[in-house]
Amino acid sequence: AEKVVLGVAIPAATHGFTGGIVFWANQAKKDLEKAHPDLQVIVKTASGAPEQANQLQDLQTVNKINALVIFPFESASLTKPVAQVKGKGVYVTVVDRGLTDTSAQDAYISGDNTAFGKIPAEYLAKTMGGKGNLVAMRGIATTLDNERMDAFNSVLKAHPDMKLLDAKYANWNRDDAFKVMQDYLTRFKQIDAVWAADDDMAVGVLKAIDQAKRTDIKIVFGGAGAKGMIKTLMDGKDPRIQANVSYSPKFIYDAIKLTAEARLKGEKLPATYIIPSVLITKDNAAQFYFPDSPF
């Protein structure tokens, strides 16, 4: 078969989740290149949309890739650059953040951002009996963050007694989450649960609550299933950590593997493949625990 040169374009490791992405991409490169001598995998990380567009160009013109797996930094911004690459005959698999024009891709593999917002909201509604005070953390202003927030809000609409007191940006960053939570605690005397929306942010939230010695918060719901949080959940070490929602960066590994193996055989992938986000609780936590991953 024809030699496959597979480019992988992903965001640079700036927080836990993207750290995991980079880890799993490199892991895939290692495993797959060993298994398939006809395969070359080239991993590129970008710290912004324009940089990622540059990398696509470089992968195409210079590295002469014939397959691409891209985790777009931004959906809208990368649609055109990806379309350009596809136009040159490269097989394109888009991961996680869908392009605004689906004709620019051959296959789409993604996590489920709607579920990422919906599952926590439903879980909180259920365990809190449909009422109580909530605060939420937001990530960095992006379409993805909006999708999650909208999904969360839409569930809350059905539960008028669940009050979302405020939702501020904490940039998927532990420190910012710590500060925002401190100020929430100053401001709101009764908080029943926190939707931290990301396990990195959950770390900061927990520390802030501990510091204030507040006992009113019964649940802190993170997200994405970082290994530290999963471990805590498995061991039942923190009563506030009762559940999580899966959104494993490992899907980049799967996407690379699926694409590489399909291309080596000259096959195509199904147009869309959604890796479902599921609720993680103590019972199924072990399934989501990857001690070797940095995330």
Partner: protein, 334 residues
């Protein structure tokens, strides 16, 4: 005192420019070395396609850096250019999208959008200039403030997500970025023109001379009948216009503006200027150096993209080492 003029004159004249030229070559030498390394690491580096790719993507930062060079030479600084670019991009996309259904031809709409980009840039620059000169506020503070303001308004307009150009407009607009003239991509041509103009303005016009005089010693310039405030304001307007031009080239590339558009461009633009041999303290600077600096910075990341010898985590470290290394080759310039 004509009787005994300057006997050392010939030697001095011969030597000084030569020495100056050698030192000015610091970044050029750095760039050449990098290109050699690039070719050695990946034979595809030295292709026309790759060169054009690199130059095209340098165009944005490069054009902004040309404007930044004026501001820095005059003794100022502008931290807001990245946010300004983002806000301009957002604003013109919104405007074009709003105009599209009003019966204007798409070409007309795009032209209006492009003109608006330049106008907005000039207006923002004017605001900076006025706050700095008439408001007597440090440029660092003014532009640190507007950095936050511009980006916040973009985030607000985009509701935290992306502002995307309508598809048919996008098709009309996209040649501005993707087309070539005589084999040279439009952004590269524009970059070239801006750099040439910048060089001429800085070195061959009264305004450029005033900019240098002000950066060298503002007080002396004032006593020498230079309208210091006006010249300073104009440097910021000029930079704003450059940001506008860069943005109008940028929009057709990605067709959207998001809260992360233009993030850290200010650092890249300032770095291009300083790596190009202009002093952070103002007074003297070179547009050629700035252009070389901008190209050098994108060549570094281009080479990193072309090779995989180094852990992806360490990309930034390689860039850091190269920047310091290049600076070292031209050390002790002042």
């Amino acid at each position: 005192m004509p009787q005994e003029p300057t006997k050392t004159l010939p030697t001095a004249q011969a030597a000084a420019p030569w020495l100056g030229r050698l030192q000015g070559l610091g970044p050029v030498i750095g760039l050449v070395l990098l290109c050699v390394a690039g070719t050695w690491l990946n034979s595809n580096f030295a292709t026309v396609d790759n060169a054009m790719n690199v130059l095209t993507r340098t165009a944005f930062i490069g054009i902004i850096a040309v404007g930044m060079c004026f501001v820095i030479v005059s003794g100022g600084i502008d931290l807001s250019v990245g946010s300004m670019a983002a806000l301009i991009a957002g604003s013109i996309i919104l405007t074009m999208n709003a105009l599209a259904p009003m019966g204007l031809s798409p070409v007309m709409v795009v032209v209006i959008g492009m003109a608006l980009a330049i106008l907005l840039g000039a207006a923002f620059g004017l605001a900076h200039g006025l706050l700095i000169t008439k408001g007597h506020i440090e440029p660092f503070i003014v532009t640190l403030g507007t950095l936050g303001i511009y980006r916040a308004y973009l985030t607000y307009f985009s509701n935290g997500g992306a502002i995307t150009l309508d598809n048919d407009l996008s098709d009309v607009y996209s040649p501005v970025y993707y087309a070539s003239l005589l084999g040279i991509p439009i952004p590269v041509l524009v970059f070239l023109v801006v750099a040439l103009l910048g060089g001429v303005i800085l070195n061959r016009t009264a305004f450029g001379r005033y900019v240098q005089a002000i950066g060298s010693n503002e007080q002396v310039a004032r006593y020498a009948a230079v309208d210091v405030d006006l010249v300073k304001i104009l440097t910021y307007v000029l930079l704003g216009v450059c940001v506008g031009i860069a943005t109008l080239l940028y929009v057709p590339r990605l067709g959207s503006a998001t809260p992360t558009t233009g993030l850290l461009w200010e650092l890249e633009a300032i770095a291009a200027v300083i790596v190009g041999g202009t002093s952070f303290k103002g007074g003297a600077g070179s547009i050629t150096g700035t252009v070389v600096g901008a190209v050098l910075l994108s060549v570094i990341s281009n080479i990193l993209n072309l090779t995989s010898i180094i852990s992806v985590y360490l990309n930034a470290a390689v860039q850091g080492f190269v920047i310091v290394g290049v600076a070292f080759t031209q050390r002790g310039r002042r």
